[in-house]
Structure formats: C-alpha cells, structure tokens
C-alpha cells in the first residue's frame, strides 16, 4: 500500500516535470525495462539506446497515463519502442539489401560480455521468433497478468496464453536439449 502511494507520488512529480521524481522512476524501472530490451534484442548497445529513448519519451508521454496500472502502461510504451525498433530495422535492411545477411547477424547475435548461462539463454531465445520473444519477456518483466498482457498487445487472451505457453515450452526444450 505504501509502495503504491510512493509510486503515485513519484508519478505525480514526473507529471509536474520534477527531475528528481524522474530519477526515482528510472531507479525503479530501468532494470526491468533494460532486461526486457536486452532479452528481445540480444544486444547491449541497442538496449542502451532503447532504454534512453524510453525515458526521454516518458517525459512527453507521462501526462497521458490515466492512473490505472502504471506497469501495464509503462510496458506498453516499452513494447511499442521495441516494435518501432523492429520496423526501423526492417526498413533499414530493405534499403541496404546488399548487406542484408550481415545486418541480420549483427542484430541477432548476443554480446559476449555476459556470463555463460546468460549467453546460453540468449542464444536459445534468439531461436524463437521476435513476437514470441516479445510476449514472453513482456509477461516476465512487466509482471502483468495474462489479461493485462492481452490488453497491452490488443489481442485475445487465448492468443496470448497460447503464444506464451508454446514459447516457454520450446525454450525449455532448447535449454534442456
């Protein structure tokens, strides 16, 4: 309850343009949002850029938060940023058709700076399609319910359940294989 009040106070400060409140918001959510970006892109540099883009965008967008579930709202913005990135990457790869294969490998290969276990998970995650990776990571990092995830992604709950179930089952098989 106190945590909820604290979050409301921080959001209110952010809406009023208070830099300190934004700093607290970054402290609270940067880790989870970064985890999502890293897991869906597999690239630290891209994740760094997307995290920066997220919080700068929040300065403009925080006023549009209607006061329901902040985490659902936040992760909808997070997911939109990832999809914008995917679209931009797609346009870029179309434009630079001659370098297509090189660019794809750049995007999908994880960095080698993490521990072996993390690399292993990332390698297996990269074998899933981008949409399945997105929905699994959205659920894991936003900590939202299936109903909230379905709402965020504007899809039926049955579709969300099916994608998460199939994706996690395949991931487990890959990790155990």
């Amino acid at each position: 309850m106190a945590e909820r009040e604290n979050l409301n106070r921080i959001i209110s400060g952010c809406r009023n343009g208070d830099a300190e409140s934004f700093s607290q918001l970054i402290d609270m959510y940067a880790g989870r949002c970064y985890g999502y970006f890293y897991r869906v892109t597999g690239n630290r540099t891209v994740s760094d850029d997307l995290l920066g883009e997220l919080f700068v965008k929040l300065v403009e967008k925080i006023g549009s938060f209607k006061g329901d579930s902040f985490e659902s709202w936040l992760f909808k913005v997070v997911s939109n940023i990832f999809h914008d990135y995917l679209r931009a990457k797609h346009r870029q790869s179309q434009f630079l058709e001659t370098q297509k294969s090189r660019m794809q490998s750049q995007v999908s290969e994880p960095e080698r700076c993490d521990g072996d276990e993390i690399d292993k998970l990332q390698l297996q995650l990269n074998k899933l399609d981008a949409d399945t990776r997105d929905v699994i990571m959205l659920r894991y990092y936003s900590q939202a319910s299936f109903r909230e995830i379905a709402q965020m992604r504007s899809e039926l709950i049955g579709t969300t359940l099916s994608k998460v179930h199939r994706g996690l089952k395949k991931l487990r098989e890959l990790m155990e294989g």
Binding site: G17, A19, F22, S23, I26, D27, A30, G31, Y34, G35, Y36, Y38, R39, R44, S47, D48, L51, G52, F55, V56, V59, E60, D68, S69, S72, C113, D114, E117, I118, K120, L121, I136, R139, Y140, Q143, A144, S145, F146, R147, E148, Q151, I157, G158, L161, S162, V164, H165, G167, L168, K169, L171, R172, M175
Partner: protein, 174 residues
C-alpha cells in the same frame, strides 16, 4: 474493475477456458517451468554510466518541455488577449456608448455657380452684379440721409434691410 495481477491470477483456470482439465494443468506447469528458467538466468543490469546519461537526457528533455510549455502559454495568452480586444472593439462599435465617432471636418461647399463656371468672365459678371447692387444700396442710403423721399424714413429702412437680405441670399445661392 481492478484487474488481477500476476501474483493472484490462476493460470490453470485461465487455460481451463480453452483446454481440457488435464491439458490446462500441463500447460500451466509448462509456463511455470519456463518462467523459472528465466528467473534463473537474469538479464544484465544497465550500467551506472548509462543511467547517469539517461538522467541527464531526461533533465534536458524536461527543460525543453518546460520552454515549449511556456511558449504555448504565451501564445494562448496572446490569442485570448487578441480575442478580448476584438470583442471590446465590436461591443463598443455596436452599443454606441463609446466615444462618438468623429466626422471629418469639411469646408462649406463652394458656391455651385462659381464652382461650375468655366471661365473668369462668368465670375466677373457675378461680381459686376454684386457691385451694382451695392451701389444701388449706397444710393438708397444717401437718399435717406438727404431726406429726398418725403420723410417716410422708417419704411425705407425696412425695404433696404430686405433688399440686403435678398442680395446676400442670392449671392450665396449663386
């Protein structure tokens, strides 16, 4: 309606809306095991430098937003002031309570005969007639002074006055 969160949602029951009891139990188990793998392999945390950089970007964005908001407010105030001024002008104009509209000061119209005359000769004729009239009046006055009219001075004065008035009006009428 408050939405259930991840902590209190019943996954098996959710799957049960689409699958058989056995399948929904297995699906829920698969999800839980998969999510356990994710928990066991945490993603890297953002670097401290990155967070510091983001904080400074946010401060800049806030400053830019503040300036933009101030400009927007100034524009709105200017627009409202303009509307108020226009409304005041319109209300003053149509209520008639404001200062009287000044009509332009013009000179008396120039006598039509003089204005429409196309030559000095016409004007001279007019002047000649006026001079004759004046001479006639002077003669009348002289007659009165000399008493040539048989002592009927009062009636003569009225006649002269009427004649003067007539001359004046004829002259200005052209």
């Amino acid at each position: 309606m408050a939405m259930e969160n991840q902590a209190n949602e019943n996954i098996e029951k959710l799957f049960g809306e689409f699958l058989s009891e056995e399948d929904s139990r297995r699906a829920a188990e698969n999800v839980q095991k998969g999510e356990r793998i994710l928990r066991e392999h945490p993603a890297p945390a953002p670097a401290g430098e990155l967070l510091a950089d983001i904080n400074s970007k946010v401060v800049k964005a806030l400053a830019a937003k503040g300036a933009k908001t101030r400009r927007l407010i100034a524009c709105k105030v200017a627009a409202v002031a303009a509307v108020v001024i226009i409304l005041i002008v319109i209300s003053v104009k149509f209520s008639g309570k404001g200062p009287a509209v000044q009509t332009p000061v013009t000179l008396e119209p120039i006598q039509r005969a003089v204005w429409e005359s196309d030559g000095v000769s016409v004007d001279r004729t007019e002047l000649a007639l006026l001079r004759d009239e004046i001479e006639h009046v002077e003669g009348e006055i002289l007659t009165l002074r000399l008493g040539e009219n048989g002592g009927n001075g009062g009636g003569e004065f009225v006649e002269i006055e009427m004649e003067l008035t007539d001359i004046g009006s004829n002259f200005w009428k052209g």
